[in-house]
Symmetry: C2
Subunit: 442 residues, 2 copies
Amino acid sequence: MTSARPRVVIVGAGFGGLHAARHLRRAPVDVTVIDRTNHHVFQPLLYQAAMATLAPSEIAAPIRYVLRRQQNTTVLLGDVRAIDVDARVVHCRGDWSVPYDYLILGAGTRHSYFGHPEWEALAPGLKSIEDAIEIRRRFLLAFERAELAEALDERSAHLTFVIVGGGPTGCELAGVMQEIAGRAMRSDFRRIDTGQTRVLLIEAGPRVLPSFPAALAERAAAELRELGVEVRTGIPVTRIEADAVYMGDTRIPTHNVFWAAGNTASPLARSLGVPLTRSGLVIVERDLSIPGHPEVFVVGDLAFTTKEDGRPNPGVAQVALQAGRAAAENVKRILRHQATRPFHYFDKGDLATIGRDKAIANLFGGRMQVSGRPAWWLWLFIHIMYLVGFRNRISVLIQWAYAYFTYQRGVRLITGRERYGGEVTYEPVPYAENAPLSGELH
Amino acid sequence: MTSARPRVVIVGAGFGGLHAARHLRRAPVDVTVIDRTNHHVFQPLLYQAAMATLAPSEIAAPIRYVLRRQQNTTVLLGDVRAIDVDARVVHCRGDWSVPYDYLILGAGTRHSYFGHPEWEALAPGLKSIEDAIEIRRRFLLAFERAELAEALDERSAHLTFVIVGGGPTGCELAGVMQEIAGRAMRSDFRRIDTGQTRVLLIEAGPRVLPSFPAALAERAAAELRELGVEVRTGIPVTRIEADAVYMGDTRIPTHNVFWAAGNTASPLARSLGVPLTRSGLVIVERDLSIPGHPEVFVVGDLAFTTKEDGRPNPGVAQVALQAGRAAAENVKRILRHQATRPFHYFDKGDLATIGRDKAIANLFGGRMQVSGRPAWWLWLFIHIMYLVGFRNRISVLIQWAYAYFTYQRGVRLITGRERYGGEVTYEPVPYAENAPLSGELH
């Protein structure tokens, strides 16, 4: 791992890390990209994998495949456990480490359960492909369990879906869930009517989609309600149990809670030894480096960056992508003995989709607002454009067209094991593990 | 679950069970299909999912979706634990049961490790979507670990793949593995040359593909060798360890062993209380019913059936599919007070593929033998034809065309957890579970 050329280590191959790596493809450096998974995920479409519209492989690509032509770059599968900024070494699980001359850290965030870590097992969030497969598994199993349930209240608890958090992910999940239950699934079951499915979207703040202008967000909420989603704002979730969620004192019986509320930073941020925000984000310098270490840059939603007016930039793909490029550019500038440049986020606009034909778009800093079908087609067009580079775009188009015209979902596989232990009734078990045939019967 | 109409319960929605259900779609009966998973798997292409060519969802379809238009049929997700043929009840895990008037049992087989159940964790087999994802995970991880390995012998142990069993699945896996390693992966790694990958195919019997005529099987073996696969016949595997496999006294260092050898019946066969073969298959009557219980039929590879000349029918999709239909037809005949009919397998031919442009076909009972590229195109055509009914055929075609022309594989995702415990170094861990940042570092 020694080299005459400066060593740039990039931790995390999300939008920030991956675009930093690509920006360095012709630079006179040796790049090492370390990620805990072997794939880059196209995060804005993760909810489509969770909702069985797209296959996981359609929104993810092997990192080393994306970077295969980049001869100055090595990709390593590794779980970075700490960064020693003084020794300039990245430490990985399994007792190996990688030294660096420049570090670009894009380790991202996880869900924050606001001091209730025990909620994680009950209300999974959506950050990774694994998360998407877990949510897909729970979502599809809910209908299977409802079909098997004898008692009416048990059945309706299986058919109640609660989404905590009214940001873009929460709204997208809620809209698609209601659509799938009300449309795609109806002809498949004999004992239940999936049209009876309740989807609740709970937002503690005063309105959904707080990052959008109020009028646009209100239109999105109206469209969600039109679909049948029960939108509840201004009410915090106070308690989550295996079979219920509480909003204040109101108990809602449900086995299906999904988390789309706050974020908390990767614990790697702490090992940098610099000031963090309350949720653990790294307060970077204007050029994305950290105080006292001009050779360490933080990108993506792990970095706390602000607009000109001091408002924080959102934790979205566009910010991460632009920051990744900016950090890589600053590494190149340092190598050329030039001053680094401050990071400016160029805001092309925000989009959120709610379901078939329904979306909102806030473009050019609010100068253009679109909703309904035009916004949905815009959303579709933009996401297909961005999927270029991902080789799966044709099959993604086919899957979408199929889902659009037939209202069906193509990827309704229940796979994987119960992640947090607990009930395992429906898990496939190798025969060897089966209990003896006697006993257990009634 | 009570009904005036005769109740037909079908256990297992493989080729046998699913086609039995479809054959009963207009019959005056209430059909209940019970399966441990929510999906029917197109088994002949399972190895393509294991080798990252196709996405799991492209070779599987939700059972209830396939049967959604069939109003007399209910699909239940359940793990059948025993059958009480006297009480005519099927018992499921989770303490529920389903009574029947007629039973069609297609519960299938699992791998047999010939008295070495401890080998299962070390050498996974390929029967289910879960199996395919596990093999894909191990296959892709092997290259990641080789890239990280410092010691040469460690690296080559990661790059050695051993497949036990020279039947169609073993040959297909071996051929594709060698192709992917030698072609698709080469530009992705910096420290290893995946062209150095060794693939060994070990068959205890005198030759590979024993179900094919000797000349055709010999041609397949020659094509495998041409690809670079080391084909070893007449040598049993005597021992499997975490880091080696033994053929007689020869120790082959490897971390990657895959099992494509014998089968053993579902333990449900035992609960029928009728004579079984040595490997646990149910010795059925000519009409596929079991001795003493004309209302119970066994189909698929769980049933031991023979040709006119007494030779056993192979455990392939075609036999299962035809037996499923025959059993369903016999149920209908009983209801019409007609005598049941014996099952005759109409053998359309056998196909095995070895890699790009390479396959063998034994058609019309051996009267036509094809190998090489024509056989491969025949194989492709037949499998695409059979995928009709599966809605994914277009995207499967695209994936294949992509893999064919670019030599690349599109679905190279490492997902899921270590199934059998053991090392978990590369498993994604929620931050909350992470160890404190101090300690553990060197």
